[in-house]
């Protein structure tokens, strides 16, 4: 029993293909009880397919999978009693009220809080009589999470829970997840928002083309870049030849170009900047822009794949 070892989800060599498209390509995963585990990756990386396999909604073509120490195919009903699920695109019945929707979902489970309690947890008490169609997208998303919470789940799956939400709704949702985790719940979450992964997740797996390409705590992943800051510059009459000697500036670990900027990954900004200015002056190159920021998971992803998480 993996559950006794404090492991909520364990999978090895998970594979799933749709026709000729390989969605999940030999994925290994270990989620510990009580942690919030994030799957971070761009659209089409295979995050949703992975999560739906873990939720028992899709059958993998190959691989070994244990959820809460049980297996899909033999313990389905018992497993479903203990899983809270929020799917990426579910629209709940428009003409049922918040309360009616929760009563319906609550009726499927043997145990759990009352609809009233769940409404209080997600802050929808005032909307109890409102039809689902009259809720804002943030409220609808909170209701979707409430439906996942009515069974007092041990394991909560959230598939891009904040995509398309405004910043305030997003923060409300983060608080919900945080509270759930504080009370000992385990969360598996997919996202393509860096900040979300950084704020919520204890550990993050970076997923690309159906594989995990990096795994660790957000700070570990960033530290693995070997540099914690990014200096972005733009120069007049950029002839791209400068890349070669920029690499030799003190503290520059890596250079990449995108849009009109040159991105330097650096470990110590206070040493690199003066050296950079001196070199530029010596070579007679005019700066047109200079900004710096802390390295983020986005920078991790770009350095691993050469691509961005989102197209926008």
């Amino acid at each position: 029993m993996t559950e006794a070892n404090g492991i909520a989800v364990l999978c090895r060599g998970l594979k799933k293909r749709y026709g000729s498209v390989v969605a999940v390509d030999g994925l290994d995963l270990e989620v510990k009880t009580g942690e919030c585990f994030g799957l971070l990756g761009p659209n089409g990386a295979g995050k949703t397919t992975t999560v739906e396999i873990l939720e028992g909604l899709l059958e993998p073509d190959a691989g070994d999978l244990e959820v809460l120490g049980m297996r899909w195919g033999s313990d389905d009903r018992a497993l479903r009693q203990r899983l809270g699920v929020q799917l990426q695109e579910t629209e709940l019945a428009e003409k049922l009220s918040v309360e009616e929707t929760l009563q319906l979902f609550r009726s499927f489970y043997q145990q759990g809080p009352t609809p009233d309690e769940v409404m209080r947890i997600v802050g929808l008490e005032e909307k109890r009589k409102a039809w689902v169609s009259k809720l804002s997208s943030g409220q609808q998303q909170r209701l979707a999470i409430a439906c996942a919470l009515v069974c007092k789940p041990d394991l909560l799956f959230l598939d891009e829970p904040t995509t398309g939400l405004d910043p305030q709704s997003r923060r409300q949702l983060w608080d919900l997840v945080h509270d759930f985790k504080t009370k000992g719940g385990t969360v598996v979450l997919t996202t393509h928002y860096m900040e979300e992964a950084h704020r919520l997740c204890d550990r993050v797996a970076v997923v690309d083309h159906g594989r995990i390409i990096a795994l660790g705590t957000p700070s570990e992943l960033i530290a693995a870049l070997g540099a914690e800051h990014v200096v972005e510059i733009a120069v007049e009459n950029d002839d791209r030849a400068i890349d070669t000697w920029l690499r030799d500036v003190t503290g520059v670990q890596d250079i990449r170009r995108e849009r009109d900027g040159i991105f330097l990954t650096v470990s110590e900004v206070h040493r690199t900047i003066p050296a950079l200015m001196a070199t530029l002056q010596k070579r007679g190159v005019e700066l047109s822009n200079l900004t710096t920021h802390h390295a983020t998971l986005e920078d991790v992803f770009v350095s691993l794949t050469g691509r961005h998480l989102r197209d926008d």
């Binding site: 939720e55 028992g56 909604l57 009903r77 479903r80 009693q81 899983l83 699920v85 799917l87 695109e89 579910t90 629209e91 709940l92 019945a93 003409k95 049922l96 009616e100 009563q103 319906l104 979902f105 609550r106 009726s107 499927f108 489970y109 009352t114 609809p115 039809w131 439906c147 069974c151």
Partner: protein
């Protein structure tokens, strides 16, 4: 909460709430059939036989001939010139044209029932005006009874049509909608039993079926004095079996479809033959003999036969066992296949 904690009850309640909150659905299920009964009932009400309109082509003796025809109560004759008379005949405004002369000529289309009637009535009038006397005196006794009118035929027809339509549309649309919205997938992620989900549709149909039957039968009785000559319980039993059978067929048609357009197409394809052939608006005996075995295989046909046999003929349930079995077989078969091939994702 505790009162409604069983998933089947909750699912059924959700179905019922969703339905009554959908004004369009309420219109199609309750108002539309009643309006249809009203419209057709008025259009085809039994009237004293209308006088037959005929034209006399202008010419020598035309005016006198028209006047003598007009003196018969069931004939209305007008004098028209030749072109006009033909035109009125062609467009059906008159049933027959007479060309006066030494011998009278009747111009008419022998395939038109009213023209045939007009020919007989006009000939009778012409001969009598000419001096023929009838050798035998006859009398008439008139009889118009509820049960023999078109509306008496129509109400059970509309009832069956409604049981079919609301079973198919009501169930099919809702299921496809839930599939499209990924709601089915979300439910699959709960411990809900799939059979209970499908059963909740049957239960909600049962509740609405009672109201539909009450609305249409009640309307027919109050407005057109259409009586249920058999037992109301028997009528309900037939309606239940019919409603559930079409619930099964609705599920089957919706079991794979991913879009509303897709399911609409399949449903129209399934229902259209029954609209035409099963005898909703007129008896299917009008179709050629060769069609009859196929028509009797359609699920709506035995349902309408059983409804009419109980409502109009006052037959007991026992006389309709064959029909009931046929309807139930359709329902069970559809339900079983639907459960097997149902697409939850």
């Amino acid at each position: 909460m505790t009162n409604f904690s069983h998933p089947l009850l909750q699912l059924t309640r959700a179905r019922l709430l969703e339905f009554i909150r959908e004004p369009e659905a309420l219109f199609w299920v309750f108002v539309f059939p009643v309006l249809m009964a009203l419209g057709l009932g008025i259009a085809f009400r039994n009237r004293p036989a209308e006088s037959l309109a005929v034209a006399v082509q202008d010419g020598h003796g035309a005016v006198a001939l028209a006047a003598s025809l007009d003196s018969f109560p069931d004939i209305r004759a007008t004098v028209l010139d030749s072109d006009e008379a033909r035109n009125e005949l062609r467009t059906g405004k008159v049933a027959l044209v007479l060309i006066p002369g030494d011998s009278v000529t009747y111009v008419f289309d022998p395939t038109r029932t009213e023209s045939q009637l007009a020919r007989r009535a006009v000939d009778d009038a012409v001969q009598r005006s000419g001096g023929r006397t009838d050798p035998v005196q006859v009398g008439e006794q008139h009889l118009t009874e509820p049960g023999s009118r078109y509306i008496d035929f129509l109400i059970p027809g509309l009832l069956g049509l409604n049981l079919m339509g609301s079973g198919m549309w009501g169930i099919g649309f809702n299921i496809v909608q839930a599939r499209r919205k990924k709601l089915l997938k979300r439910l699959l992620a709960t411990p809900m039993r799939k059979s209970q989900y499908l059963l909740s549709y049957a239960l909600s149909r049962f509740v609405f079926m009672l109201l539909e039957v009450a609305a249409l039968v009640g309307f027919g009785w109050l407005v057109f004095d259409v009586r249920v000559h058999g037992s109301l319980v028997d009528l309900l039993v037939v309606s239940v079996v019919g409603a559930l059978a079409f619930t099964g067929m609705g599920m089957l048609t919706a079991s794979r479809a991913k879009t509303l357009e897709g399911v609409s197409g399949i449903m129209n394809l399934v229902m259209m033959p029954m609209w035409i052939f099963s005898g909703v608006f007129f008896s299917y005996s009008r179709f050629p003999e060769a069609f009859q075995p196929i028509i009797k295989l359609l699920p709506l046909t035995p349902l309408l036969d059983a409804l009419r046999s109980i409502m109009t003929d006052g037959a007991p349930l026992g006389a309709n066992l064959g029909q009931l079995l046929a309807i139930a077989a359709w329902g069970l078969l559809s339900f079983a296949i639907a459960l097997k091939i149902f697409r939850w994702n």
